[in-house]
């Protein structure tokens, strides 16, 4: 396997809104190796969200390359993008985004279903992951029966279930209090220590501090790209 989780080269993303042209990204390039833990920071309007969408294969760049494990996914169709999201990327959202009608195990299983991976093995894997994030005793609870921190743990377990190339976390601790934030960050750190590549989008310094590398964006371009400590 490629030593890079992904590489982006000269990414541009331009929107046309009400006759106005918005340059959200103006030539962003960086590489992320396997096993890295990076934080992407920037004030609002810096292009952070656009970059997240492109990295998450939810959006296509107007120009530039996005190499996921050596394959350029910058200009592929909607169906292929869906498949790549399902197989290679693990999402963690600020507001957890668990499905209310499903229990913990079923929520973790969702990405597998879209790859046709269902059955006993899949269930076993989901239970294992639930235990890994410390929810072994709440396998059949509904999201409404869990605290915010617990819900985010379920979301993290869900992001890992498809063995992604990297976990893409978008303000993953934004809705949590400082104590649970710590716990969730500890979880990310231990995952990273076990070899998971993590890309954390955040605007909080305390969160970024825990990452090994921080990329700062400003006006759609990289302002700085440096290692922590």
């Amino acid at each position: 396997m490629d030593q890079y989780a992904f590489r982006v080269e000269n990414l541009h993303r331009t929107y046309y809104m009400k006759g106005e042209t918005v340059h959200a990204l103006r030539g962003v390039s960086f590489d992320v190796r396997n096993g890295e833990y990076i934080a992407i920071m920037g004030p609002s309007g810096s292009g952070k969200s656009t970059l997240l969408n492109v990295l998450g294969c939810l959006d296509r760049p107007t120009q530039g390359k996005y190499l996921l494990a050596g394959q350029d996914v910058a200009q592929i169709n909607d169906y292929q993008l869906s498949r790549i999201r399902g197989q290679r990327i693990g999402f963690v959202f600020q507001s957890y985004n668990l499905l209310q009608q499903l229990n913990v195990v079923e929520n973790i299983k969702v990405p597998l279903q879209y790859q046709g991976l269902i059955g006993r093995d899949a269930n076993a894997k989901c239970r294992e992951l639930a235990e890994l994030v410390g929810l072994g005793s709440r396998l059949y609870h509904r999201p409404t029966e869990l605290s915010g921190g617990q819900q985010q743990r379920v979301a993290i377990a869900r992001s890992l279930v498809n063995d992604p190339y990297f976990v893409l976390a978008d303000e993953a601790t934004g809705n949590l209090d400082s104590k649970t934030t710590e716990e969730v960050l500890d979880l990310f750190e231990s995952l990273n220590q076990n070899g998971k590549t993590i890309v954390m989008i955040t605007h909080e310094d305390e969160v970024a501090e825990r990452a090994k590398r921080v990329i700062r964006l400003r006006d759609g371009m990289i302002e700085s790209d440096e290692l922590n400590r």
Binding site: D78, S82, R83, R85, F91, F93, L99, Q100, Q101, R158
Partner: protein, 441 residues
């Protein structure tokens, strides 16, 4: 593949159960639609089955020639007090002598007549008939015996069940004498209860056999005669009108069923020569049967159209609900897209949900539809218990008959409605921009 299908269905059910009330109400439309199809068709089939049975009772091999009152023609006719019309004994002879392929022809004369015994009276239909009349009309003897060859010209009478009850509420009528006009007749038999038969000729009334009294046709002719006078209106003076009719009906039975239509035509041609006016009608039960068949088909088409409209309305209700659901679950759609769902997966999910909704409504509707028999009987009994005369007799005789095609059709339509009205909301869901959908509150 199969496991995945069940997973999708399972998910659909779970999602629907989140909004139980809403899903239930949406499915109710389909439930009503499907059960309506089955109920209406079952009722229609029940009615037409009865009609067919009744027509068959008239005999598929028979041609029935009936006397009917001619249309009021000239003023001269209207002013004359005694009207002479109808089939003649000569017609009967002509039919028997001229048409070779008839098995038998049975003449009959009936008139309204009051029978008396002491202070009890019965307004009956006095029927002058031959021995074959019993078999021809599938009457059965309850006690005593039917008219026989040796009774011709004798003063004997057979009473129908209701007639007997009115004249002899407590006693056995056999052997007793009753007044027919100004003469005593001996009761020799009594027939069993018999349900009303189909109307024939132009009359809309069905023939009710229960208030009959039967005497030999020869006796009727000799002792009662052809002319019947009755009092009309009030006031002073001579307010009687009379009808002079020789025969009320001739039932002609042919040898083979294929000959029925042709024989009917021959009879008609034959009668036309001797009757200036149209004072008779030739009825072919087989033709009535064919008409009933056509009516039934038209009726069924009508019912299906009505039920189709109700299912359409139900379908629109379903679509409305699904559109609301899609809007409400925009976030979920975004999440699923982010987690790897392709557009086709989202379409599949929402389409499955719609079909589960309509199919469960449809299935429940079919079950309810299939129970039409017991439920209808129960309602009939309940209404009769509360007020015995509330229901017309036709309802009492009606027995719904479930048609298999209506069950399959309604189930098929309910599934079809699910797919048809599910596609648009599902596509709407699938073509949401995942980024927008994720941001949706």
């Amino acid at each position: 593949m199969i496991a995945q299908f069940f997973q999708t269905v399972d998910l659909g059910i779970k999602s629907l159960l989140v909004q139980k009330m809403r899903a239930g109400l949406a499915a109710l439309g389909i439930f009503i639609g499907t059960s309506t199809v089955i109920w209406l068709v079952a009722m229609g089939e029940g009615v037409s089955y009865r009609a067919q049975q009744q027509i068959l009772e008239l005999g598929a091999k028979n041609v029935i020639v009936r006397t009917k009152q001619p249309n009021e023609g000239s003023e001269e006719d209207a002013s004359s007090r005694v009207k002479t019309y109808g089939l003649l004994r000569a017609d009967y002879r002509r039919i028997v002598e001229n048409i070779p392929n008839i098995r038998r022809a049975i003449p009959m004369r009936e008139l309204k007549f009051e029978l008396r015994l002491d202070d009890r009276t019965a307004d009956t239909k006095l029927v002058g008939c031959t021995e074959e009349y019993l078999e021809l009309n599938r009457l059965e003897i309850a006690r005593g015996r039917w008219l026989a060859n040796r009774d011709r010209g004798e003063k004997v009478i057979v009473l129908a069940a209701e007639t007997a009850r009115r004249l002899f509420p407590y006693e056995n009528p056999i052997g007793r004498a009753i007044w027919v006009g100004s003469e005593f007749y001996t009761v020799i038999g009594q027939t069993k209860d018999r349900t009303a038969s189909a109307a024939i000729g132009g009359s809309l009334d069905s023939r009710d056999y229960n208030l009959d009294a039967y005497i030999p046709i020869k006796t009727l002719r000799q002792r009662v005669g052809d002319l019947v006078m009755k009092r009309v209106g009030g006031g002073r003076g001579f307010n009687f009108v009379g009808e002079d009719v020789e025969l009320s009906q001739i039932t002609v039975e042919v040898n083979r069923i294929e000959e029925v239509d042709e024989t009917a035509q021959i009879i008609e041609t034959l009668l036309k020569k001797f009757h200036e006016e149209e004072d008779y009608a030739v009825v072919v039960p087989r033709e009535l049967l064919r008409q009933a068949e056509r009516t039934r088909t038209m009726f069924n088409v009508l019912l299906v159209v009505i039920a189709g409209i109700s299912l359409l309305v139900g379908g629109i209700g379903i679509m409305n609900i699904m559109l609301a659901t899609v809007t409400e679950r925009t976030r979920e759609i975004g999440v699923r897209r982010a987690l790897g769902a392709a557009r086709s997966d989202i379409i599949g999910q929402f389409l499955t949900e719609t079909v589960v909704l309509t199919a469960s409504g449809g299935l429940a509707g079919v079950l309810f539809g299939l129970s039409v028999g017991p439920i209808f009987r129960f309602i009939k009994q309940a209404v009769t218990a509360i007020s015995p005369d509330a229901l017309p007799p036709i309802v009492h005789q009606l027995e719904p008959r479930i048609a298999l095609w209506s069950v399959l059709l309604s189930l098929g339509i309910s599934l079809g409605v699910g797919v048809l009205f599910g596609v648009y909301p599902a596509r709407k869901a699938a073509y949401l921009d995942p980024i927008e959908a994720l941001r949706h509150e």
